[in-house]
Amino acid sequence: VSVLHAEWTKFRTVAGWVAGTAAAALLMVLVALLAGVSSDQKGAPPVPVGPGGEPVTDSFYFVHRPLTGDGSITVTVSALATGVPDGPGELRPGVVPWAKAGLLIRQSTRQGTSYAAIMVTGSHGVRMQDDYVHDTAGPAVSYRRLRLDRSGDLITGYASTDGTNWTEVGTARVRGLGSTAQVGMFVASPQAVQGLGTTGSVSTATFGDLRLHGGRTGGDWTGEQVGAGSPTFAGYPQGTSGSFTESDGGFTVTGAGDLAPAARYSLPTGGTRGDILTGTFGALIVVIVVGALFITTEYRRNLIHVTLSAGPGRGRVLLAKATVLGAVTFVAGLVGALVAAPLGERLARANGVYIFPVSPATQLRVALGTAALLACASILALSVGTVLRRGAGAVTTVIVITVLPYLLIANPFMPAGVANWLTRVTPAAAFAVQQTLVRYPQVENPYTPYNGYYPLAPWAGLAVLAGYAMVSLAVAAVVLRRRDA
């Protein structure tokens, strides 16, 4: 305890170290302010939000008519062809795995409405999906005949090869369907991942043998591009547009867009809590410098002899230093994160920026994780400083292994595999703790660290940095004991 007290006294009486730690928290807040103030998206169209509160893409081509009461609709999807732009105004046939054509029921075409749908996809077979985030796998694509049954709020999806033997794919409860719902055929064609970015696509489906059973229907089939002006819709490839034609009881429908949760690429204007906390990088540099100085100053001033002769054991002195440094940095980081994140988000929202939603538990994880990240980095700097006994070398080493990987993954030519590897094995893995975006298997998107999707789970990523800090601390303890001071 006396060692701890001695180290705490040393830390708190050096003005530069206290100021540095405060500056780390301040940097986080300042960058959050900058991020919030500098963005101006006032007047941008609102981002559609699904029943669960998450941002969604609700843009597709819908050929529909009202259906009152319980009933059933069946159709055969005889073809689904997708085109991907190949130069301006030119399309080549392509495979978009999540291109969708099938049956859809929802109360209205208002953005973000609850729905249920059964569909044939580009290369994921038959799927039943509802309310944007739910996805149930059905049989293979050879099941071309699709059916949706409505019984009150309960929707059941079926698929069949022959129209006689039906396989149930899934059920969904659609809230607020009302007595009269819109039913019909839809075609969606999400952006396709191409190289390191995405490209738009357009799909055309041929529907046949369309039948409505039960209920009461009225009006004609109406074709409509839903969500045309939505910020989560990238639009049609040049020279194409949504349409439908009816002939001999069959329909040909062309559409683009998607019915799915929005990922980073479908909502490029959206911000994340991690973006707001970019000041963590500035804070990181400061705590690394303070961490290294906490030990190298003793070497430079030859105070280390006094410290080591006064202390009971060299290992314990180092542990006391790490404890004091880690605790102080953790508190500063926590204060910085707790002030910066809500402040920056509020300012950004006031400027019309959409921030991906974060649950309170995740908010707490991001704040605690950011504080722990800074604490681990400072202990790493302390340990490397003990081994090298040189401030400049220690600071450079730690900054290079934590910050440089992040710069490298931001290089547009870095393949996703390498970026994922870098954020698995280097201390930069710890930034995963700031991830707030959700990966959806039913949305194809460049899920790269640069876009805010880390390969490791949040705490696992932090554990990588913590591992570096612990191992280097152990090495430092051994070196300190074996070596003359």
């Binding site: 101006d40 600071v395 910050v403 440089l404 992040y406 931001a410």
Partner: protein
């Protein structure tokens, strides 16, 4: 002046640290360049990569030891009190400081030349195997190519400027850990912070002002119109940073007690 240069050269030559750092510039640059070159891919003629910039990406890592060298040349002396000896022997402080700048520039220039040529060579050997072939519209890297020559010479100058910037900053803060922290924050963190600026105009401005984001535009050989700033103009920004740091450091060294 000549004795000052000779003194600085002797100090640099007789300590093991600078030699390792110069070796570090070469090793770090070539290693990262070769690593990056062996992971990029160019699948078609439309892949649009910039092989020269990929081959020279190692400068991003090689600048770290260059910065450490720049910092240590002055703060190493401040830390040990050696600076008093230096300044007593050489009462005209600006000459002593200029001698340090010249010596650092010289040795970094030598190491940077080796580093850049090594990186280019690594790129020339590795990149064709990754699809950067003539068939995909990418000729083998060669110094006979105007833009590649400009990128290479620019990269060498860039590394010298980073060492000088570090020297200037270290003369201001007089502590090696703090000095290198400030330099690396300017180099590495400024471009990251620029990404969060929502307003494209301000974002571009910050990219133009950052010593690394502006200076390394000198490595670009394709899509020059999409750069935040022209190649030579970008390097001039880095030179401006280095000059400002050197002048400030020199003035403070002159007016402050050592």
């Amino acid at each position: 002046v000549r004795t000052a240069l000779h003194a600085e050269w002797t100090k640099l030559r007789t300590v093991a640290g600078p030699r390792w750092l110069l070796l570090g510039i070469v090793a770090a640059s070539v290693a990262l360049s070769a690593g990056a070159a062996s992971v990029v891919t160019c699948a078609s003629a439309a892949c649009g990569g910039d092989p020269t910039a990929v081959a020279l990406i190692g400068v991003m890592l090689g600048q770290a030891p260059a910065a450490v060298l720049g910092v240590l040349v002055i703060s190493g002396e401040c830390g040990t009190g050696m600076i008093r000896t230096t300044l007593t022997a050489m009462p005209r402080r600006h000459i002593a400081f200029a001698a340090k700048a010249v010596t650092v520039s010289g040795v970094v220039a030598a190491a940077a030349t080796v580093a850049v040529l090594g990186s280019l060579l690594a790129g020339r050997i590795v990149l064709p195997g990754r699809g950067f072939t003539a068939a995909h519209g990418h000729a083998a890297l060669s110094l006979a190519d105007g833009p590649t020559l400009r990128a290479s010479v620019g990269s060498i100058l860039y590394l010298i400027l980073i060492a000088l910037l570090s020297l200037g900053i270290a003369a201001v803060v007089r502590d090696s850990a703090t000095g290198i922290g400030i330099v690396l924050a300017l180099l590495y963190v400024l471009p990251i912070v620029a990404q969060v600026i929502g307003d494209p105009h301000w974002q571009r401005l910050l990219q133009r002002l950052g010593p690394m984001s502006a200076g390394l535009t000198v490595q670009a050989t394709t899509d020059l119109d999409r750069l935040p700033i022209g190649p030579w103009a970008g390097l001039a920004v880095t030179a401006g940073w280095a000059a400002a740091a050197l002048v400030t450091g020199g003035l403070l060294l002159h007016h402050r007690d050592a």
